[in-house]
Amino acid sequence: MLIEPETAEAVAAALKQASDARQSVAIRGASTKRDWGRNTAEADVTLGTRRLHRVLAHPHGDLTTTVEAGAPLGDVNRALAGHGQWLPLDPPFGDRATIGGILATNDSGPLRHRYGTPRDQVIGVRLATTDGTLAKAGGQVVKNVAGYDLSKLVCGSFGALAVIVSATFKLAPVWKASKTIVATPAGAEVLGRLVGAMMGSQLEPVAFEVRADAADYETRTMALLVRFASLPSVVDAQIDHARALLGASDTPVQVHEDDGERALWFQHGERLWTASGAIVRASWLPARIADVLAEIARAHPHGRLEMIGRAAVGTGLIRIDADPSTQAAVIERLRRSTTVGNVVLMRGPAELKSLVDVWGPSGDRQALLESVKRAFDPHGMLNAGRGPL
């Protein structure tokens, strides 16, 4: 059964009704991440948020906004653009993905380098819980330490704690200009040195990406993408500085601007997700990037692996284009590695998800996670089994 409430109150009422009847509930935004998480049986009730799509407030002088959870990020940012502001998030499918889904998965993209993940930008939240109540936490102001900040807690919860009905964010001014420099170093060792040099410099990019695939690893073509955004003159000065820094040791560099730059970032954001194969997320210590690239290449020497990551954060996505048993072997190998960690299967065929643990171990947090889940959802009916708790 599909329910698509138009108000927060109706969401809470629907949750209570389902909970009282012990019906399982799945939450659905724009379905851009439908194939993420564990395999689950179809829920008794699907609660769609698409009718909760309003921008509730945009006090632009305060640089904040409050939006309903079902609003697509693209629509929100088009509304905010009228006052030269935006919510600086660029997760996959960022135009269609909803605010609620982005928060619940704490999903982000290259701009994470400068702006952090959704949990760094959310300042308040309104939640509907399975007992039918609506509760808020955080606030409408950028600085606030009153009470527990449950807006952080729901980030990464995969909808297993409560339904996010609306959220308040701090915003950023839209850039006046941006340019991107792409460096193609000869091999992982050179790339590693350049990452270290960039991190140790006083340059302040908004995005700093590393990109490689297994085939390229052999032929020694991999790339660093560094994006600067500010006033035009500032961007030019930073690009000049970055060119000198990245171009050392004869590494070829190329500067992209205007439409070419926009296309570059659009393709960069899409390329993994529009291609076939499983997609795995993994993290590493940023200074170990050369080892990470070598490890990924070794994980599947004869097949196609592609990696896109945040160089200075130390996290990325790996696409594994192979049959499920080979994909599973690559994932297990990455999990045994000491260079990468937090290896999570994001997208993959059902067969693969039956072969490997999608989320990996939760370490010494397991009992606490279960306890928190029970506090919100004592009957275990909300998005059960799909997410990490």
Binding site: P59, G61, D62, V141, K143, K152, Q202
Partner: protein, 482 residues
């Protein structure tokens, strides 16, 4: 507390690390908010995570409440012991465990001060960004509990944005690691919840923070205005125009007079001064600084001074950071309030405070983080005058109601603690608070970890909060308040 329990504490920690003589306990009766006090049954000084775990386990088995404590500089009574409790003082946890420059992080014990982190990484050209005014003395463990900010949080965010991992002992004695050395620990953001939980969910025993590369350039400007509205308008113009400075601070005439008397920062004798600091790449700071200067002049600044040296900039900041302490120069007693309003509502709320000042007969100094709407009204009174202390408390409470009327918050950085627990229902509904309490119970079903903080209780809220009183050490001029 039974003697068997005390004996067990001594067995775990050694006799020297267990305090129970009344004179020894005095130090631990209060934090930086001196009028709220409680006497613990004992104070323990563990030296390792295993010892904290053993103490917490013992408390959990015996149903004894415990109160984690850093350096006791908090301003909301968050570290005040409940009677019969064990204070777990983390002052011996004072080591920097690891500095990892290539990966831009440092791991420290919770008793390390905020400024010591910066000192440990400064030789490499790095710093730890959150900079509460008390940074010379406050502990990073306390910063984690309170989600401390500071003048520069406008651009750089709060403690929660800079902590990568904590090791913590849960109220049942389990050791957990929240967050992690690597990004994207799967699951709900337990780390983000524990930061800002005021020591009510766990005892943090190790903290890994992100450190930042020193910006290429820092520029600081001091502008004077005839009205507080003009200063406020500059702030709105800048932020509305897309400029997020590293810091924007404002002080009014009374606060200016106080800091001039105390630390002589060379502020002009004006109705309002505004401090704006920009940092980042030199070209960016240069370009944006011109806009800041123009905006100040366009809004009628009577003087605009750009700090020409590091020494001058340090003096300007000393003037700002000493503001609370300096109020002692202009008033025998004062009450510090901490409230937040949406930035655009600043002029309106400040006008209401001015009207309240006239009506109450008490002088109110204003020092605030204007960039993020965080007000610190300083309500001056003389406790020797009958009724003035109570009046000051009433005025402070009324200012808080103005903040909430404007859509703001009870606290921007000092925390709820005991001080504002009874005000929580003014900002949150019963349902809001009930959900938070459920989360607390998920961590601490027995309710032993730092009880009576954050949430209103009938016992607590029957009592009227009192005003600030100076510590005898302060009165003697031997120490000052940050």
């Amino acid at each position: 507390m039974t003697s068997a329990f005390l004996g067990e504490l001594r067995r775990i920690l050694g006799a020297a690390a267990v305090l129970q003589e009344p004179l020894d306990l005095l130090t631990y009766e209060c934090d930086g908010l001196l009028h709220l006090r409680g006497t613990p049954a004992a104070v323990v000084l563990p030296g390792s995570t295993a010892e904290v775990q053993a103490v917490v386990r013992l408390c959990a088995r015996n149903g004894v409440p415990f109160v984690p404590r850093g350096h006791g500089t908090g301003l909301s009574g968050g570290a005040v012991p409940v009677s019969g409790s064990v204070v777990i003082a983390l002052s011996r946890f004072n080591r920097v465990l690891d500095v990892d420059i290539p990966n831009q992080r440092a791991t420290v014990q919770p008793g390390v001060t905020n400024l010591e982190i910066t000192r440990a990484v400064a030789p490499f050209g790095y710093y730890y960004a959150p900079d509460p005014s008390s940074q010379q003395v406050c502990s990073i463990g306390g910063n984690v509990a309170e989600n401390s900010g500071g003048a520069h949080c406008l651009k750089y965010g709060f403690t929660v944005h800079h902590v990568l991992e904590v090791e913590a002992v849960l109220p049942d004695g389990t050791i957990v690691h929240l967050g992690g050395p690597l990004a994207d620990t799967p699951g709900p953001d337990l780390l983000g919840l524990v930061v800002c939980s005021e020591g009510t969910l766990a005892v943090v025993t190790s903290v890994t923070v992100r450190i930042l590369r020193r910006p290429e350039t820092v520029q600081t400007l001091l502008a004077a205005f005839d009205t507080i509205d003009a200063g406020g308008a500059v702030v709105s113009d800048l932020i509305g125009g897309g400029i997020i400075p590293a810091a924007v601070e404002m002080m009014d005439a009374l606060a200016i007079r106080a800091v001039e008397a105390a630390v002589h920062p060379g502020f002009p004798p004006a109705d309002t001064v505004l401090i704006v600091e920009l940092d980042g790449p030199a070209t960016e700071v240069r370009a944006l600084f011109e806009i800041v200067e123009e905006t100040c002049r366009a809004r009628g600044a009577t003087t605009v001074e750009v700090a020409q040296s590091d020494e001058r900039r340090a003096r300007i900041w000393r003037g700002r950071k000493a503001a609370f302490a300096a109020m002692g120069r202009v008033s025998p007693n004062y009450y510090v309030q901490d409230g937040v309003v949406p930035r655009t509502r600043l002029p309106e709320v400040l006008n209401r405070i001015r009207l309240l000042e006239a009506r109450s007969g008490l002088r109110i100094g204003n020092v605030f983080h204007a960039g993020d709407g965080n007000l610190h009204p300083l309500i001056c009174y003389d406790e020797r005058v009958a009724g003035q202390a109570d009046k000051a408390a009433e005025v402070a409470a009324e200012i808080l109601s103005y903040c909430l009327d404007a859509g703001g918050s009870l606290t921007g950085e000092h925390g709820i603690g005991i001080d504002k627990a009874c005000s929580m229902p003014k900002m949150f509904t019963d349902d809001d608070l009930a959900l938070m309490q459920r989360v607390r119970a998920a961590f601490d079903p027995q309710g032993l970890c730092n009880p009576d903080k954050v949430f209103p209780t009938p016992r607590l809220c029957g009592e009227v909060p009192g005003p600030y009183r100076r510590h005898p050490v302060e009165q003697a001029g031997l120490a000052e308040r940050f």
